[in-house]
Symmetry: C2
Subunit: 220 residues, 2 copies
């Protein structure tokens, strides 16, 4: 299962009819001539503006208003297409998850099973090559580019970690500990390919990692 | 434990006679005139050969004999300068630790404190910028270069994880779980700079992470 999409790690870019394909699709859309507000390429214009503003200002200091100004559209149109600044970041990075939707799924439900839900969610999400690739691209870029690292840090801090820590009523450092473990696991499984971690089944890894995540989130 | 010949990661570059960083500095420091066949640049020749052979064959398939042949020296000289294949890898990667020395330090001592020893050791080691930089360079390269990823995987698997798992009498996947957590923590602390993880003190992080590491290594 894991390797089904692996060969596509690079080939997919060329193949790309399927899936979200946000960045490439967006720039393809953007190339269409014609610049009327709300026209075919408005979404692409906004995305291009968002990409530029995020790069210049980082996630925290970017604003919907500033991105709308850069794109030459009304801020309401930005909300129409992307709902929020986070939604724009998700689209720019081509991410397979929107924290606004993910966090409630993770923190709702039995409190004593939140660790298990998180581990199973992350493993299931990243088992899908199409979802995994933009995540790995983001991770790889953040590892070598300080500007992208700052964007990623600000986005995850604000949209995922703060939100989840508030929802669970715990200090943020505990969410960060859980995040660091899931990050390390994804890298071992899909970048460093460390066996048996890389080939282990989801349930085996849930059994191994969920108690640690649960403990980070519960405190002692 | 750290290579005595390692000098400043950056400062030396300006000063040295054509100095280009750790590996070359080491050979400069060790230069002893008039030695034959272990002449002035023998160590450097062996390192250059090791770099090439590791890149071509990976860590597992590289041999001391093959590296000696490539360098045009007797295998005994390789052992003289680097002790082992692992020692050569450590020198090629400019790593601040040699698993042959590190593993006993971590696994000897009270079994119920091994998690704490590992967390404290990794945090203390990476607190030192000179030790941290080659580690981060290796991590970053492994994230984007499959060949380096394979070398790093093989080296850590064989020299660190297998060795420690055997020493502790546990399945290797449990060492890998601990390794994935420490890897994630280092990246959060020194690459993604996720606060408060990045600025927390060693003791706070030992208290947070050691129980998880201990649990991975103990089983339930």
């Amino acid at each position: 299962m894991r390797d089904a999409g692996r060969a596509g790690d690079t080939a997919d870019t060329a193949g790309g009819a399927g899936g979200t394909g946000g960045v490439e699709d967006a720039s393809a859309v953007r190339r269409r001539p014609g610049r009327r507000p709300g026209s075919a390429d408005t979404r692409g214009q906004i995305l291009a503006a968002a990409r530029q503003i995020f790069a210049e200002k980082g996630f925290d200091r970017a604003t919907v208003r500033g991105i709308a100004r850069q794109a030459g559209v009304d801020p309401a149109l930005v909300h129409h297409y992307f709902t929020s600044k986070a939604g724009m970041f998700v689209a720019v990075m081509d991410l397979p998850l929107n924290p606004e939707e993910v966090v409630p799924v993770l923190i709702d439900g039995p409190r004593e099973e939140v660790g298990e839900r998180i581990v199973r969610f992350v493993l299931t999400l990243t088992a899908d090559a199409e979802a995994r690739q933009p995540l790995l691209a983001m991770i790889r870029t953040a590892m070598t580019n300080d500007q992208v690292a700052a964007m990623v840090r600000e986005f995850f801090t604000e949209e995922l970690l703060d939100r989840a820590a508030r929802g669970l009523g715990i200090p943020r450092i505990r969410m960060e500990a859980a995040f660091s473990q899931m990050f390390g696991l994804i890298v071992m499984r899909h970048v460093l390919l460390l066996d048996p971690l890389a080939s282990a089944g989801v349930e085996e890894l849930v059994a191994l990692f969920a108690p640690a995540i649960q403990r980070y989130l519960d405190g002692d």
